[in-house]
């Protein structure tokens, strides 16, 4: 039951993009087409889960025993940056088709605040353990994908609309994102 609550809360109620404002850059940047949106979601899910697992063990096995929690930011960002490089190299070698699909998105992920954000948030869960953290990371990634792909679908339609000159491009995209966030607010209170 606890896990069900985590999943629903992460996907709908506290959606990472639309209510916590993490990962806005890819949300606005790669949402022009549904297909790129799907690729980005895949890459984010992949890295987010691995990053959460690795940072969890670093926190529990290194930072806490030595009492140096204040080094969290600097350690995590380095670990995530090198992890992204590592994933890129391994994918290239092991699974070229997957690399083809996710490759271009991987370097962008280092500066995606959603990855670092979820890694830090997962450590703040009540009596956190590794399974809970992984469930937490996967459901946030799904939430990210849901928001990104919905938004990309709307933006594809938006190209056909007659929009006032000043609102073209980013402004209308932001207003649409606002309306989408308003719709997601309807989920508030179900958890």
């Amino acid at each position: 039951m606890e896990y069900v609550l985590i999943v629903i809360s992460a996907i709908f109620v506290n959606n990472i993009v639309l209510s916590q404002f993490l990962g806005i850059c890819p949300f606005l940047g790669v949402s022009k087409k549904i297909s790129t949106g799907i690729g980005m979601t895949g890459a984010v899910t992949f890295v987010m889960v691995i990053a959460t697992i690795v940072t969890f063990f670093i926190q529990k096995a290194v930072l806490e025993p030595f009492g140096v929690e204040y080094l969290q930011t600097i350690t995590f960002i380095l670990v995530i940056a090198s992890l992204v490089q590592l994933v890129e190299i391994i994918l290239k070698k092991v699974s070229p088709p997957l690399y083809q699909a996710l490759g271009v998105f991987l370097p962008l992920i280092t500066t995606n605040c959603a990855i670092l954000g979820v890694a830090i948030l997962a450590l703040g869960l009540e009596d956190t353990n590794i399974v809970k953290s992984v469930v937490f990371a996967i459901s946030h990634a799904i939430g990210f994908g849901l928001a990104l792909i919905t938004f990309a679908g709307i933006r594809e339609q938006l190209d056909l609309m007659d929009i006032p000159k000043g609102m073209k491009g980013t402004p209308i995209a932001l207003v649409v994102a606002g309306l989408l966030a308003l719709a997601f607010m309807g989920f508030a209170g179900i958890v």
Binding site: F21, L28, L78, G117, G166
Partner: protein, 195 residues
């Protein structure tokens, strides 16, 4: 004259939020009030100036291949300093900014300036560029925060302008952030075209 240009470009011509669309996460996430926006803006400015300063000093010693990771370490160091200082001296602001303080480290604006400007220019210009860009970012966050605060709760920097129950709550919540920024950018685009 040139240095003056270098300083002022961050406010209007190359404003991080309104024209370059960098650092959107904190822009939307912490601007529920003008004070939070200002606090976040100044914290980012400090990190930006200090990291530009250090990057400009060490750029000749760093091998080209490892420059991005080195820049990230420099930035993360200053973010940790800001984090600990704020926790000690302004705990209330620290609480309300929360997760977004460690996330300054992944703010594309900071890394972007280190890579695009400080790694190619001398010390003085890098510091000026950092302060101009940072203060421009702080200005954008404060404006957005002020708009959301007054529309949402009828206050400005905590001082009541009109009674709170006339406010539109949605502007303090998440959707209001997107909508307010959308119209603000549209307005700025319009002004730019006229000018």
């Amino acid at each position: 004259m040139n240095q003056l240009n270098n300083f002022t470009k961050g406010f209007f011509k190359e404003n991080a939020v309104f024209t370059l669309l960098l650092g959107m996460c904190p822009t939307l996430g912490v601007t529920s009030s003008a004070f939070n926006g200002l606090g976040m803006g100044l914290a980012t400015t400090f990190v930006l100036v200090m990291s530009n300063l250090v990057v400009a000093l060490i750029k000749d010693f760093i091998p080209d291949k490892v420059r991005i990771p080195s820049f990230i370490v420099v930035i993360a160091t200053f973010v940790t300093i800001v984090e600990m200082t704020m926790q000690a001296y302004v705990p209330a602001l620290f609480e309300s900014l929360g997760l977004f303080i460690p996330l300054i480290v992944v703010n594309c604006l900071v890394l972007g300036r280190a890579e695009a400007f400080a790694s190619k220019n001398n010390l003085i210009s890098s510091i000026i560029d950092g302060s101009g860009m940072g203060l421009g970012f702080a200005m954008a966050l404060t404006i957005l925060g002020a708009i959301r605060e007054i529309l949402g709760s009828g206050k400005m920097f905590g001082a009541t302008i009109f009674p709170e129950h006339y406010g539109m709550l949605v502007f303090v919540l998440a959707p209001g952030a997107f909508i307010a920024l959308g119209y603000l950018i549209a307005f700025i685009n319009h002004v730019k075209k006229e000018a």
